[in-house]
Amino acid sequence: MSDRAGITRRGLFRGIGTAGLLAGCKPSERPPTTTEEHGDAAGPGAGEAALGPGPAPLAFTLNGEAKTVEVAPHVTLLAALREQLRFTGTKVVCDRGACGACTVLIDGVARNSCMTLAHDVAGAAVTTVEGLAPGGKLSVLQQAFIRHDALQCGFCTSGMLMSCQGLLERTRGQKLGREDVEAAIAGNLCRCGTYPNVVAAVLDAAGGSA
């Protein structure tokens, strides 16, 4: 990406945030999301001024809708989504980046929202499981999950879907193999044992949408 050349040290660390530094389990062909592209227009959250310790305004796009919320700087994106914005489709399981249940897309890249500070998404576009079916019509991927019975208790399902959606978005039009899907969900734990059905569902969805 061409804009990498202009990154400053401070800007880089601010941009990567905890998400970038700790998201090693989410391999991605894209460089870590930075707030450089959107930050300046995104309000105080992305500016140079220090935040906190109290709540500070944060503006970002959630499932295509502009949101402005008051969030304390220590609050994770996961907590902000669930407890403040009441988007509870994203689940808390380990709360430390080991299980993938809290995966969301940040500018199209699958990330653990428990390892991302809410203020790190200032100006970014966040997609949660609730955003996969705009207008209530289930996506090709969601339908494939249902058809292939890629869910049992359903608690890992949101995170699985978001990791798989991230895969589909970054490989659009490419032919996918089983290994691609397994790599994409390598950071998503399921206790009911749905993995083979998830793989089948994604391959089906990728074939269907290609």
Partner: protein
């Protein structure tokens, strides 16, 4: 009321079908049997609740936030054994945001595992609750402890319990298991299972095998942690949301603790994020969650959410106990088993239930002499509890690997040795079927060739069996089916769907009876006010619930038939149903038209399930229920340089009576295989013997199998059996599907290496030690 009826049912499996006579209670619909031609039941159908789960709309207990709800947090003992000398919770009360504080121990009380409840608070935010816990001052006098099972068995080991131990049992436990035959030191002896004279059988044996097998502590690790949300509706009534496998067990415990009428406790579990045996009652096995949340909410005058974190989930919500099984097998020279003797010790921490199941006693039943002696060994660790087929995976591992080691001494094919001792016709059928489908004979030859060549990468083939009972419960479920004037159909029951797919199966049963599309049946579950139901434990759900649902649907159909007869000017017995139309002679009336004629709002019927009335062809442990059969074959690849085991293939051949929904049943078996693979290869609770605490209470060092760790292929084959047990023919599959997996994998590793790895999990160091490549590390 008509009298009891006697009907002929066609029962059996595969080609082995026969007619039996069954006595049915009055009003019971004639059971679906091998003659029944069903259109909806038995056909794959996607989960009806799946759209909610894939869109994030499904509400779990974690997601429930009543207005003004507070967060609860619990202070837990950092010490494995200590006497509380002082506790002062007052400083927490004045912390910001705090509304209620609760001491859960008194000075002088002894805490006996690290993670035990000490105190709790309710505050506006989780951060405030955590901060308030840090303000609580507790003085402890630490005492000697023991967290290692073998060490706890020694004379002079620190005693975990000073008095008699009360057994805690739940609907997750296997019926008939449990009980005590005495206690000495930290060792509590369970009643033994005995047939013939095993000691004599061993003396008579010309060939024998004796070895010790160990298994690790396995935590349930359901993704949704134990959680409860309490809202008081006045002083004597409450609404409770709980992540539970047993809605009524929550209601009853909560009512008992707070001295309420059960009917005044309204419990909701719309969805739960897994349970695997650990989620019964309002509390967790090692934490009084129901009392804590209820009391904090009462004191605060506001609803309280108590959601455990991942560390707490590992420490105090139950686990599969470990085991150390000394197995002795005796046989004649021509390969007839003369004795099976198992002496098992296992630790459920401070709890009970470390027995090793019915595998050694019940499967290879041609062996005339069997003795299984199980012992609970108390340690200063969180209590074990029922976990998906309690006792059985560990029992299967030791027995089946020992059988393989004996077969090697006898120079017999281990599958042949099994076949010659297993009398269950269905399991024999499954063994034979699997032998062909899995390519057993060719595989074993290939494995032997690689062994002979001392190849670096070996292949191995193993097989193991499962035993479980059809514990479907009678008189426990009341289901209600309604058909409304607008033609819509609704079924109600106070059941929870743990993820096995019962919601869909219930819809299928009603759709079958009423000839409506599955999508047209609205299933309402997850609420204690929707009628009595069972807990989802012991593989009883489908067998207990579907017959009651069918009875209710048949009741509605009878009423609709009478209505149709009236409309068509015929007698009810002349009315037949096809494609959703009632017909009599040349006349017919469509569903929608018929429903418009309903007087009042709806036609409603309730249904119950009588006690199990058939168990063809084999009874479980001499009882009145069918013995569920299953076998699994595993192929492994072992790198003898690195010690890494990879499971290439598993073939799971199971019966679960009449398969209600092959799509969800297959998923459930696949899940059992994956859980078993994870148990076999990576999962292990690690205790620090010096500090007495769990070292890996998380999901990065407690290793659950991920997508790339599971078998490369899992084939699921059902061998349907009509047992005549109940009116739908359903029996359970949840537990049987995970029983033989680890055992089959261990047997396959034995085949690959030519030596057995006798300790779970089958980690690389143990594989290398078994090969003599590295020194042996003490097991357990």
């Amino acid at each position: 009321m008509p009298d009891d009826q006697r009907v002929t049912l066609k029962v059996g499996f595969a080609e082995q079908l026969r007619d039996i006579e069954v006595q049915l209670p009055a009003g019971e619909p004639k059971p679906w049997d091998a003659r029944s031609e069903l259109k909806v039941v038995g056909k794959p159908h996607p989960r009806v609740e799946a759209p909610l789960k894939v869109s994030g709309a499904a509400k779990y207990t974690h997601d429930i936030v009543p207005p003004n709800a507070l967060w609860a947090a619990v202070l837990r003992s950092p010490h494995p054994c200590a006497v509380v000398e002082s506790i002062d919770v007052a400083p927490a009360q004045s912390q910001p945001g705090v509304s209620a504080v609760l001491a859960l121990v008194k000075p002088g009380e002894r805490v006996i595992f690290a993670g035990q409840d000490i105190a709790a608070v309710a505050a506006k935010t989780p951060e405030q609750a955590e901060a308030a816990l840090r303000a609580i001052a507790v003085g402890y006098k630490t005492e000697p402890f023991v967290v290692d099972t073998a060490a706890a068995m020694q004379d002079g080991a620190p005693l975990v319990h000073r008095g008699k131990v009360t057994e805690r049992s739940t609907e997750g436990d296997e019926p008939g298991a449990g009980g005590s035959a005495g206690q000495r030191g930290n060792i509590r002896t369970s009643p033994s299972m005995k047939k013939g004279d095993a000691h004599k059988g061993l003396r008579m044996a010309k060939v024998s095998h004796e070895a010790t097998y160990t298994t690790q502590v396995h935590t349930h690790s359901a993704l949704e942690t134990h959680s409860i949300v309490v809202q008081w509706d006045g002083p004597k009534a409450a609404t409770v949301w709980c992540s539970t496998q047993g809605i009524f067990s929550v209601r009853d415990e909560f009512a008992e603790v707070f001295e309420l009428k059960p009917a005044d406790v309204h419990v909701h579990t719309d969805f739960l994020g897994g349970g695997f045996g650990a989620k019964f009652g309002a509390s967790a096995p090692g934490s009084r969650m129901g009392f804590i949340a209820g009391e904090l909410a009462r004191q605060a005058g506001a609803p309280v959410r108590l959601l455990l974190d991942r560390k707490e989930e590992h420490l105090c919500t139950g686990n599969r106990p470990d085991s150390r099984q000394h197995v002795k097998l005796g046989a004649s020279v021509d390969g007839k088993l003369t004795a099976i003797h198992v002496v098992a010790h296992g630790s459920a921490g401070i709890g009970t239930g470390a027995g090793v199941g019915r595998n050694a006693f019940g499967i290879y039943s041609r062996c005339p002499n069997v003795l299984v002696e199980s012992h609970d060994v108390f340690t200063h660790a969180g209590p074990g509890t029922a976990m998906r087929a309690p006792g059985h995976p560990q029992g299967a591992f030791a027995l089946e690997l020992a059988i393989d080691e004996l077969a090697k001494k006898l120079k017999l094919d281990p599958l042949d040795l099994r076949l010659s001792h297993d009398e269950h016709p269905v399991r024999r059928h499954q063994f034979e079927l699997g032998r062909k489908q899995f390519g057993w004979d060719a595989g074993r030859k290939q494995a032997a060739a690689l062994r002979d060549k001392q190849a670096r990468v070996r292949r191995g083939f193993g097989v193991a069996a499962s035993i479980w009972g059809d514990f479907g419960r009678g008189k426990a479920v009341v289901a209600t089916v309604s058909v409304l004037r607008d033609g819509s159909v609704e079924v109600k029951n106070g059941l929870q769907d743990i993820g096995g797919g019962i919601t869909t199966v219930v819809a299928q049963v009603v759709a079958e009876v009423l000839q409506r599309p599955v999508e047209a049946v609205r299933v309402r579950l997850g609420d204690s006010e929707l009628g009595p139901s069972v807990g989802s434990g012991g593989s009883v759900t489908t067998a207990s619930v579907t017959p009651a649902v069918r009875a209710a649907a048949e009741g509605v159909k009878t009423q609709l038939t009478a209505l149709a007869a009236k409309q068509l000017g015929r007698k009810p017995e002349e009315v037949t149903w096809s494609e959703g139309q009632a017909r009599a002679g040349s006349k017919s009336i469509a569903w929608a038209e018929l429903c418009k004629k309903i007087e009042g709002e709806a036609v409603v019927a309730t249904g119950t399930r009588p006690e199990t009335y058939g168990a063809y062809p084999v009874k479980f442990m001499g009882g009145n229920s069918y013995q569920i059969a299953g076998v699994q074959f595993a192929e492994v690849r072992v790198d003898t340089w690195t010690g890494v085991v990879a499971v290439e293939r598993v073939l799971a051949v199971h019966d679960c009576g009449k398969v209600m929904n092959p799509l969800t049943a297959r998923s459930q078996v696949q899940g059992g295989v994956i859980l078993g693979t994870s148990y076999a290869l990576t999962e292990q609770r690690v205790m620090d013997r010096v500090r007495g605490v769990m070292l890996n209470p998380n999901l990065e060092t407690y290793k659950i199998a991920g997508a790339r760790d599971v078998p490369r292929s899992i084939d699921v084959v059902f061998t349907p059996v009509d047992t005549g047990a109940n009116n739908t023919g359903a029996i359970g599959i949840g537990e049987p599907s995970t029983i033989p997996t680890a055992a089959a994998i261990a047997c396959a590793v034995h085949d690959a290496l030519g030596v057995a790895v006798r300790d779970l999990p089958l980690t690389p160091d143990r594989v290398l030690a078994a090969l003599g490549a590295v020194p042996t590390r003490g097991a357990g």
